[in-house]
């Protein structure tokens, strides 16, 4: 597979994939990895509150006397569940809307794209904030809100691709042979758009994870679950004045770790599937000069004078 080979040859993509794999494994095997059960009630004595790291608690304890490392390990679950599910929802809606709007166009297509335009100009975080604040805090509510609001960019991307693919020879030929619309969309157009959708989906997972952690940090996380954003909310409200960095920094770096891994993968995929990014005349001209004159290519293009 050419696609896979290109990916493996990109250091960014490989590093990102390895980083993501670590988080996925931690989330799956959380009960075996975590030294304590973060959902168990802890009888904490005053000196346990925000106790600094020691041999039994490698990352110290939080404001309720719980083991921070265990909280951190279990927190991976919420981030990944929200990220993957919400992104999957967004992709499903966005792809369907994009295919319909691009292939059929017409009044429905137009209406759907206007709806996308509308959602695009409403500020995301404030909108999620008011909906969750009124609707109530819960894992599935958060996933639904992030997923339903996140499809607009995908819809635009898919639609613009479909608009050009629709007029290509092989599609026209299939239509002339009497293929139905559904068959043309599913067998001929969708496979062409799929690589772009996958690249977009990976980036969208990181967007969803960041959205969930922002909501949780602002006090709107699911109160029954351990999540990194909520750890930061508690740490920021209660631990920052006591310099309890062991409670404050790990969840933040965990969010950076997982979202960076996805951004690295997504960016690599994007570069592979978007061939237009590969030509560059200033860059090529330099190579050409080197070929003609026989001199080794220089780094960068020198400014005259």
């Amino acid at each position: 597979m050419k696609f896979l080979r290109q990916f493996i040859h990109s250091p960014m993509g490989v590093i990102g994939a390895a980083m993501l794999l670590v988080v996925v494994l931690v989330a799956i095997f959380a009960p075996f990895l975590a030294p304590y059960d973060p959902y168990e009630r802890v009888e904490a004595s005053p000196e346990d509150i925000l106790a600094p790291p020691d041999r039994d608690h490698l990352l110290g304890r939080d404001d309720a006397g719980k083991d921070v490392l265990s909280l951190l390990i279990y927190g991976a679950r919420v981030s990944l569940i929200v990220g993957f599910t919400a992104s999957f929802m967004s992709m499903l809606i966005g792809t369907t809307v994009g295919l319909v709007a691009g292939y059929y166009g017409g009044r429905i297509g137009n209406l759907l794209m206007r709806l996308a335009d509308f959602l695009m100009v409403i500020p995301d975080l404030p909108l999620m904030l008011v909906i969750i604040a009124v609707w109530g805090r819960g894992l599935w509510k958060i996933i639904l809100v992030i997923g339903i609001l996140g499809w607009t960019y995908t819809a635009r991307l898919v639609r613009s691709q479909v608009l050009s693919i629709r007029e290509r020879q092989f599609v026209l030929r299939a239509r002339a042979l009497g293929a139905s619309d559904a068959r043309i969309i599913l067998r001929h157009i969708f496979p062409q758009v799929l690589p772009l959708i996958i690249a977009e989906a990976v980036l969208d997972i990181s967007v969803a994870i960041l959205a969930e952690s922002s909501l949780a940090f602002l006090g709107l996380g699911d109160p029954t679950l351990v999540s990194w954003g909520m750890m930061l909310n508690f740490a920021f409200e209660r631990a920052i004045s006591r310099q309890a960095w062991w409670f404050l920094l790990p969840p933040g770096f965990a969010i950076v770790w997982v979202s960076l891994s996805l951004v690295l993968i997504g960016n690599t995929l994007d570069q592979i599937v978007n061939p237009r990014l590969r030509t560059h005349h200033l860059f090529d001209a330099r190579r050409m000069v080197a070929l003609v004159t026989g001199e080794p290519p220089q780094r960068g293009v020198e400014l005259p004078g």
């Binding site: 904030l129 602002l218 930061l232 200033l282």
Partner: protein, 337 residues
Amino acid sequence: MERGNYILRKTAFAVVTLLAVIVFNFFLFRVLPGDPVKLIIHSPRMTREAQERIRVQFGLDKPVWVDTDRLRQGDILGALDTQFTAYVVNLFRGNLGISFTTRQDVARLLAERVWRTVVLLLGGEAVAILLGMALGLIAAWRRGTRLDAAILLWGLFSWALPTFFLGIILLILARGHLPVGGMATPGLRPQDGLSYWLDVAKHLILPTITMAIVYTGEYILIMRSGVMEVLAEDYILTAKAKGLSTFRVLRDHALKNAMLPMVTVIALTFGYTVGGAIQVETVFSWPGIGRLMYEAVQKRDYPVLQGSFLLLAVSVILANFLADLLYSVLDPRVRAE
């Protein structure tokens, strides 16, 4: 002629969007469980007269949306005598309700705080845009070099960085050197003149830097790919063949053409930037609209939440509308579209 059409279309879209936000705002807070007006009416702290006043003001004895009985009788004006109409009328009178917790007028509360958020947004955006464009241009031009890789990595990294966490890190690092919370040192007042405003400026440094760092990354990535696409165009090869210097190719051709998508992107990401301001204000207790929303969430102060959301949404819609108008000036092709 075409330009008039374009402006007309964009105006119509902005108006429809504004109306939709108003309708949404009404229904979100009125239909979902936890109806704020009902909550305040059932609050034991309210006197009977105050409850009655609110009941009349919000038209709670009337139907929510359309009075179907009167509509059936053909009384169209009468059918519109509903809670929704009362809400819209109140809105245009500048009446956004009263805060649950402080009993302050929400419209006045917002007016008092909005400029603080505007200052933060303008400062952060200005730094981010200038820095992002410069670095993105350099990265695209030196594509494939180590410098490009470093700039690109920074761009990706800052994209993956949650705004609030960067704020917290800067807060920890700068504590003791710079003010890390609030708008001014307690004790100083606007009457103190220059020393007060200098103090405010100092308090703005960390929030602005946080905003700038996070949003620079986004602009770098967009500028870089924009310039790269432009550099792949044939007219760049033509310009090069004409013997133009690299500097002039970059300045006159690449920069100008890559500016167009930047305008759209700045406007489209303005919504994200506003979301970032909420986080930054929360971390640094900067008393703007964002901090207000954070406190309103903690206290479930729905009228304040509703008013803040409306203000932010309207601002972003208007900003996008202005960007569309600007775009038609910058790009003559839009007019012919």
